[in-house]
C-alpha cells in the first residue's frame, strides 16, 4: 500500500477491484465501512463475482476475469474526455509533459515498437524520452510537420532492432547511468537522457500526455463493454462515480484504489496495477490521505517477505540482484544506480543515488569483517543470477529433471502452484524433498496424491523429510502488514511436541552445511564460511537479535553535523538510513528497515494508539518503512507552493519560516527542498515525477498498459485479433503444459478464497470446516439450467490439462455445484451466445479433516490452472482460465 489500512477512512470514493477485502481482509474492511459511515464515501466494486465486498457497494459491475485493463483504460479515457483529471498535478508531478523519442509506436496492432519476434521480447531502445529542453509552444509546428508516435512502418525504420541492446546485459539494464551518450560502433548501454525535452502545455504530439490520450482513446465505452461484459450504462456510472472527485477542477477530494491478487494473478498483472497507478496519478490521488494505490497482502507477513527479498531478482530492500555482467562491485553499482533524468529547470532527489551505501551496509551485515574495501566488500560472495529463477521456472526445471531437491518452508507448493499435477510429477523426479510445516500437507504427501497406485508409489524414489515447524502464535518476531507497518508480536504459547522454531531449523541446517564445508571444502566455501553469524545462541538465534541486525548499527564512531544527534558510537544501533555509509563503517541487513530498532529500543514494539492529527497516522504505534512515513510520496499532498491541496487533511507542508518541510506525517521528501526548486515528489524515480509512461526496461511488456487476453480466453481480442494475448507472455512447453480454447472449454474460471477459511490450513480445523464444510463450484442459474444442474449436484471440472493415464483420469476437479444469482452470463464481442463465468474457492485438497470423504473429490483446484506467467512479476495466471463443466 502506498497508504495504509487506517488511512482508508480519509477517502471520498473507493474503487475496489481485483480484491475482495470484505471476504479476505474483514478486519481491515472496517476502514471502508468507517469511510462510508463517517464521510459518506462512495464504494465502487468491480469483480468477476458478486461477492461479500460487492454486497456493500454503492455500485457493482460484474467483469469478465482478465479484462481489467480494458475497464481501467476506459476509466482513464473517461477522465481525459470529461476533463476530470488533476492538471497542475500531472504537469508538475508526473512525466505527462516529457517528450518521448521519435520512433516510439503505440500498440494499435498489438505491438509496441521494437518487438523481436524471434526472442518474444522487446528491444526497448525506442521506449525513452527525448533529450532536449523546454519545447512548450512548439506543438503546432510539430503537428504541422507530421510529428507524432510512429506507425508500424515508420517504427521499423526509426528504431531497428538494436543488436547491442540484446547482448547479455539487456533485460537487467532497467536504468543504466543517465546521460551516457551513444557512441557509434560500440554497444551503448540503454540510458535515460539527463535533460529531457518537455512541453508544459501538454500539446506536443509526442509528449507523454498526448500519447496516453491517443492510446486510451481506443478504450471507448462500447469497446470496453464488448470486452468486459459490463453494460455501457453501468460502465459510465462506475467511471462517473470514481472521477466525480475531480469535477470542475476541484482538488480537495480524494479517491483510493484497493486491489489484491485478483489483479496480480494474470499474464499482464503488473500492467493492470500500472493502469491503476496511472489512474491515480492522473486524478492526483497519489501521496494523499485517502488516496493511493493500495495492494492488500494475502498473508500477515507477505509484505515483509517481499521487503526481505522473497523474490529471486532482488536483495533485501529492493536492491537488484547481481548478474554475470557485474564483474566487480563498481560495475554492479554503476549498473543499478540511476542518475537523474528530468527537465533541466527541475530538481530530482533521485534517492536511489544512495544505492552504494545501502549495498555496502548490506554486505557488511552479511559478511561482517570478511567484507572489506580490499575485497570489494565480499561482493563476489553474492550469487549472480543468469536466468529468471522464478517459482514456476524452478518447478518446470524440476519436472525437466534439472532441479534435484527442494526445501519447502511454510509453503505448500503442490497446492499453491498452477498445474499441480505437473508439480506432483516434478516431485516424483526429485531426489529429495524437505518440507517444514505445522500440518502434514499436500506437498510432503505428493506420493499419496489422488490416483497414485501402490505400484506407482513403489517407483517413487524421492526421499521426503518432514520437519515440524512452529505456528504463528508459537514464535515472536515482526509481521509487516499491507500498510508497511512493522509490528512485533510475542509468542503466545510454546511449540508443541517436537516442533521447533523456524529459525532453529534454518540455523541448524546452515551450521551443518557450514560444518561440511569446513571439513570437506567445496567449490566455493568462502561465502558460507565467512557469513556473519553473530548470534548469542547460534543454533536458535533470537529474532530480536536478527531484527537488530537488519536495522543496522555503527561499526565505527560516526559524526554528522547535519543530523540530530550528531554522533553515534561504534556498536550503537542506527536511527535511520540517512546514516548508512559506503565506506564500511555501517551495517544494515535491509536499509528500508533502518530506524525500526534504534539504540533506544524497538519501535516495532510501540503500542501507543495516539493519533493527534485524527488522520489515522498513529505515529507511535509500531513503525512503518521508510522512516515511519505512513503515506508514501506525501509531498504530492501539497500544491506546487507546498500547501496542502485539502486544508482539512493536512499531512505535510512547507514551513516558509524554517525553510523546511513539516507535518503530521513524516515528510517523504528532502526536508529542506524549497518548493521553488521544483523537486519532484516521486523521489525514488530518477525523473522525480510519477510515471504515466514507463521508459526503457521498467516493464517488459510495454511503456503503457494495453489490454491483452488471458492465455486461455473465450474471446479474440477486438483491439488486435491477430495478437490476442501479450506478445511477451511466457508459456511452457512440457508435455504437462497444454493450453485450451473456448470451443472445448467454454467457461472462464476464477479462483478465490473465502472468509471462513485460510488458504490450505483451515481444512485441518473443525471450526472452519463447520462454517464451510466442503469445496464447491459457483455457477450462474442460467448455466445451471442450460446443463440441467441443481444446487448440490456433483460437478466434474476439466481443462486442456486434464487427461487419463493407464485408465485413470488426472487434472480433473470434482465438487458440488453452488447455483447462484451472484454470477450472471456475460455478453461479449462477436458472440451470439453469452459467456458463463465460473468460480471455485481454493481451500481444499487431499489432506485435512475430511480427506478421503470422496476419493475423487480430493484434488486441489490448482490441478486446473495453467502454467503461464506475467513477464514482469512472474506471477501465474490463476484468474481467468478456461474450463469445461459436466454433471458428474
Amino acid at each position: 500500500m502506498t497508504n495504509g489500512w487506517v488511512d482508508i477512512k480519509n477517502t471520498d470514493v473507493m474503487l475496489i477491484m481485483g480484491g475482495n477485502p470484505a471476504e479476505n481482509h474483514p478486519c481491515g474492511f472496517k476502514w471502508v465501512v468507517e469511510a462510508r459511515k463517517v464521510r459518506n464515501a462512495k464504494l465502487v466494486v468491480v469483480d468477476p463475482r458478486f461477492q461479500r465486498t460487492a454486497s456493500q457497494a454503492d455500485h457493482f459491475c460484474q467483469i469478465r476475469a482478465g479484462s481489467d485493463i480494458a475497464f481501467l483504460g476506459g476509466l482513464i479515457n473517461y477522465a481525459l474526455q470529461n476533463n476530470r483529471y488533476a492538471k497542475d498535478y500531472i504537469i508538475n508531478y508526473t512525466n505527462a509533459a516529457l517528450i518521448v523519442k521519435k520512433g516510439f509506436k503505440l500498440p494499435e496492432d498489438g505491438f509496441f515498437s521494437g518487438f523481436d519476434a524471434a526472442g518474444s521480447k522487446y528491444d526497448v531502445s525506442s521506449w525513452n524520452y527525448e533529450e532536449g529542453a523546454n519545447v512548450t509552444g512548439t506543438a503546432a509546428a510539430a503537428i504541422a510537420a507530421g510529428d507524432g508516435p510512429a506507425t508500424p512502418e515508420t517504427a521499423a525504420q526509426a528504431a531497428p532492432a538494436n543488436p547491442a541492446a540484446k547482448s547479455a546485459g539487456q533485460g537487467y539494464a532497467a536504468q543504466g547511468p543517465a546521460g551516457a551518450k551513444a557512441t557509434t560502433g560500440a554497444p551503448a548501454p540503454l540510458a535515460l537522457p539527463g535533460n529531457t525535452a518537455y512541453d508544459l502545455s501538454l500539446e506536443h504530439p509526442r509528449c507523454v500526455f498526448q500519447l496516453m490520450k491517443k492510446h486510451f482513446s481506443r478504450y471507448t465505452p462500447e469497446m470496453v463493454s464488448s470486452i468486459t461484459g459490463i453494460p455501457v450504462d453501468k460502465l459510465n456510472k462506475a467511471w462517473d462515480m470514481y472521477t466525480s472527485i475531480r469535477k470542475d477542477g476541484d482538488m480537495k477530494k480524494v479517491g483510493t484504489i484497493i486491489y489484491s491478487v485478483g489483479w496480480t494473478q494474470h499474464t499482464f498483472g503488473s500492467q493492470i496495477i500500472r493502469t491503476a497507478a496511472m489512474t491515480q496519478l492522473l486524478l492526483g490521488n497519489v501521496g494523499r490521505a485517502g488516496g493511493g494505490v493500495n495492494a492488500l497482502r494475502g498473508h500477515s507477513n507477505i509484505q515483509g517477505a517481499t521487503d526481505m527479498a522473497g523474490v529471486f531478482d532482488i536483495l533485501p530492500g529492493y536492491l537488484k540482484m547481481p548478474n554475470p555482467t557485474d564483474t566487480d562491485f563498481a560495475t554492479y553499482i554503476k549498473r543499478i544506480t540511476p542518475t537523474s533524468a528530468k527537465p533541466k529547470e527541475w530538481d530530482s532527489f533521485n534517492y536511489w543515488s544512495n544505492t552504494s551505501k545501502f549495498a555496502v551496509s548490506f554486505l557488511k551485515a552479511m559478511y561482517g569483517d570478511a567484507a572489506k574495501k580490499e575485497n570489494d566488500w565480499a561482493f563476489n560472495y553474492l550469487p549472480k543470477i543468469d536466468r529468471k529463477f522464478s517459482w514456476v521456472e524452478q518447478w518446470d526445471a524440476m519436472y525437466a529433471g534439472k532441479v534435484k531437491g527442494l526445501i519447502s518452508f511454510g509453503m505448500n507448493g503442490v497446492a499453491i502452484g498452477p498445474n499441480s499435477e505437473k508439480n506432483i510429477d516434478a516431485l516424483k523426479k526429485a531426489d529429495w524433498l524437505v518440507v517444514c510445516d505445522i500440518y502434514p500437507e499436500e506437498t510432503s504427501s505428493f506420493w499419496e496424491s489422488p490416483g497414485i497406485t501402490d505400484d506407482e508409489k513403489k517407483k517413487i524414489n524421492t526421499e521426503v523429510y518432514r520437519l515440524p515447524g512452529a505456528g504463528f502464535a508459537e514464535k515472536d518476531g515482526t509481521f509487516v502488514n499491507s500498510a508497511r507497518w512493522l509490528q512485533w508480536k510475542w509468542a503466545a504459547v510454546p511449540t508443541p511436541g517436537d516442533a521447533k522454531l523456524d529459525q532453529a531449523i534454518l540455523a541448524t541446517i546452515f551450521l551443518k552445511v557450514r560444518e561440511l564445508y569446513q571439513k570437506e571444502g567445496g567449490k566455493f566455501p568462502d561465502a558460507i564460511l565467512n557469513a556473519s553469524w553473530p548470534y548469542t545462541t547460534p543454533y536458535s538465534p533470537s529474532l530480536a537479535e536478527v531484527a537488530k541486525e537488519i536495522n543496522g548499527k555503527a561499526l565505527a564512531d560516526l559524526h554528522d553535523d547535519k543530523q540530530t544527534p550528531t554522533d553515534w558510537k561504534a556498536g550503537q544501533q542506527l536511527p535511520g538510513f540517512a546514516w548508512l555509509k559506503d565506506d564500511g563503517t555501517t551495517s544494515s541487513g535491509n536499509w528500508l528497515y533502518c530506524g525500526s530498532w534504534p539504540d533506544a529500543g524497538s519501535n516495532t514494539q510501540r503500542r501507543d494508539p495516539a493519533d493527534p492529527s485524527g488522520l489515522g497516522i498513529h505515529p507511535t504505534w509500531g513503525w512503518s518503512w521508510p522512516m515511519n512515513r505512513r503515506v508514501l510520496y506525501n509531498r504530492a499532498s501539497c500544491d506546487l507552493n507546498g500547501k496542502p491541496w485539502d486544508p482539512s487533511r493536512k499531512q505535510v507542508w512547507f514551513n516558509e519560516s524554517t525553510g523546511k518541510w513539516a507535518g503530521n506525517d513524516v515528510p517523504d521528501f528532502k526536508a529542506d527542498s524549497n518548493p521553488k526548486d521544483h523537486m519532484g515528489p516521486f523521489i525514488m524515480n530518477p525523473e522525480g515525477v510519477g510515471r504515466l509512461f514507463v521508459p526503457l526496461a521498467g516493464m517488459a511488456d510495454g511503456p503503457f498498459p494495453e489490454h491483452y487476453e488471458p492465455v486461455e480466453s473465450p474471446l479474440v481480442n477486438p483491439f488486435h485479433p491477430k495478437q490476442s494475448t501479450s506478445p511477451v507472455v511466457k508459456r511452457y512447453k512440457s508435455d504437462m503444459d497444454k493450453y485450451g480454447t473456448s470451443d472445448k472449454f467454454p467457461y472462464p474460471c476464477t479462483t478465490y478464497r473465502l472468509t471462513e477459511h485460510y488458504h490450505y490450513w483451515t481444512k485441518n480445523n473443525p471450526m472452519n470446516m463447520q462454517l464451510v464444510p466442503e469445496p464447491f463450484v459457483e455457477i450462474s442459474e442460467q448455466l445451471a439450467s442450460k446443463l440441467s444442474i441443481k444446487g448440490g449436484d456433483r460437478l466434474k471440472v476439466s481443462t486442456a490439462r486434464s487427461g487419463s493415464k493407464d485408465g485413470k483420469e488426472y487434472g480433473v476437479y470434482y465438487a458440488k455445484a453452488m447455483v447462484t444469482k451472484r454470477l450472471q452470463p456475460l455478453k461479449l464481442a462477436g458472440k451470439d451466445d453469452p459467456v458463463y463465468p465460473v468460480g471455485i474457492p481454493i481451500h481444499w485438497a487431499y489432506r485435512g479433516l475430511k480427506d478421503g470423504r470422496h476419493a475423487d473429490q480430493r484434488n486441489g483446484v490448482n490441478v486446473l490452472s495453467p502454467t503461464a506467467i506475467d513477464p514482469n512479476a512472474y506471477t501465474p495466471e490463476f484468474k481467468g482460465f478456461l474450463v469445461n463443466i459436466e454433471k458428474a
Partner: protein, 303 residues
C-alpha cells in the same frame, strides 16, 4: 443460564412476586425496581454494514463452549439452515433481486430478547425462563421440563430442543458476560463495527442516525426493526429495506406472541387450573387403575 449479578424482572411459571424483585431504596432517597444496571441493554445490528464474516458465529460457539458440529453443503454460504440448540448465532444469507439490482443480504439471527417474551409467557416451569430488569431473557435449563411450549410461544423460531438432554436452549445475550460488565461475545468479535451494544436508548439513537444517513443516500426504505408487536426487542436491526424484513432470512414483519399462548397464560389461565386439577385427578385414577410404571433401564442409562 441464570446469572446472579442480574436482577430478575419476570419469571416463568411462578406464583407470587418476583424473587429478588421489589423496590430498592437508593442512597439518594429515590427507589428503583430491582435492577443491578439502571438501563435496558440492547444489541444493535446494522445489517447494512454486515459482511457476513461469521466471526460472531465462532465467538458465540467458543464462548459458550459448544462442540463444533458436522454441517453439510446446502447451496449457500449460510452455515446451516437455522440456529440450533448449540449454535445460537447464525448469519442468514439471502440473494434478493430488486429494481436496483442484486442484493446479497446478510443478517445475524439470534434471540431477539423481546420486551414481551412469548417463550416466557408460554413457559409453565417455575423459573425455567427469566427476564432480567435489563431486558435479557434467559433460560435456566435446571428448571426446564422440556415441554417446548417456549418454542410455540416464540415468533422468531429461536428456542431449540436438545433431544439428548430434553431441554431447550437459546442465546443468553451473554448474561454471564453482561452481568460482569462486558459486552456479549458476538459484539466483541465483530470486525467491521456492524454490531453495537449499549442501552436501548443509545442504540435506538445510533440506529436512527444511521437510517437518516441511509435515507440521505437514496435508501428510502431503510428503517429500524424494533417490532412493537412484542413491545420492542433488546436486539434491534437497521435494515436497508425495512418494508420487507422477510427478505432478510424470514424476519417476521409483525411478530407477535401467538394469540392462544397469550390467552392460555392470561385470561384463560383459570382454564389451565381446571385442566391441571383434572390432569392430577386423571393421573391418580390411572394409578389406581393400572399401578406404577416401570422405568425402562436402558432409557435411563441413555440419558
Amino acid at each position: 443460564m441464570s446469572n446472579g449479578n442480574l436482577e430478575i424482572k419476570a419469571i416463568s411459571g411462578h406464583a407470587g412476586g418476583t424473587p429478588g424483585g421489589g423496590e430498592y431504596r437508593q442512597p439518594d432517597g429515590t427507589t428503583r425496581i430491582g435492577a443491578s444496571r439502571d438501563y435496558d441493554v440492547c444489541k444493535l445490528i446494522d445489517t447494512t454494514t454486515c459482511i457476513g464474516c461469521k466471526a460472531c458465529e465462532v465467538a458465540c460457539v467458543e464462548w459458550n463452549g459448544y462442540e463444533f458440529r458436522e454441517t453439510t453443503f446446502d447451496n449457500t454460504y449460510q452455515t446451516m439452515p437455522e440456529t440450533a440448540w448449540n449454535f445460537w448465532n447464525l448469519i442468514k444469507f439471502n440473494e434478493v433481486e430488486t429494481d436496483g439490482g442484486l442484493q446479497w443480504l446478510m443478517r445475524k439471527d439470534q434471540c431477539m430478547h423481546c420486551e414481551e417474551p412469548g417463550c416466557l409467557i408460554a413457559c409453565p416451569a417455575d423459573g425455567a425462563i427469566v427476564q432480567y430488569t435489563n431486558g435479557i431473557v434467559d433460560f435456566n435449563q435446571a428448571n426446564c421440563i422440556g415441554c417446548q411450549y417456549c418454542v410455540t410461544g416464540c415468533p422468531f423460531n429461536i428456542p431449540k430442543f436438545n433431544e439428548a438432554t430434553k431441554k431447550v436452549y437459546k442465546c443468553t445475550l451473554c448474561s454471564d458476560r453482561v452481568g460482569a460488565g462486558l459486552e456479549p461475545a458476538c459484539i466483541k468479535s465483530c470486525p467491521t463495527g456492524c454490531l453495537h451494544f449499549g442501552s436501548k436508548e443509545d442504540m435506538k439513537f445510533e440506529a436512527e442516525k444511521r437510517v437518516t444517513q441511509l435515507h440521505a443516500n437514496g435508501h428510502a426504505d431503510a428503517g429500524v426493526y424494533d417490532p412493537s408487536g412484542v413491545k420492542g426487542t433488546h436486539v434491534i436491526y437497521v435494515l436497508g429495506d425495512a418494508k420487507h424484513p422477510e427478505n432478510y432470512g424470514g424476519l417476521p414483519a409483525d411478530p407477535r406472541v401467538p394469540f392462544f399462548v397469550k390467552m392460555w397464560k392470561g385470561p384463560l389461565k383459570w382454564l389451565g387450573g381446571i385442566g391441571m386439577v383434572a390432569g392430577v385427578l386423571g393421573v391418580f385414577m390411572h394409578y389406581v387403575r393400572f399401578g406404577p410404571k416401570e422405568v425402562d433401564k436402558a432409557e435411563e442409562v441413555k440419558r
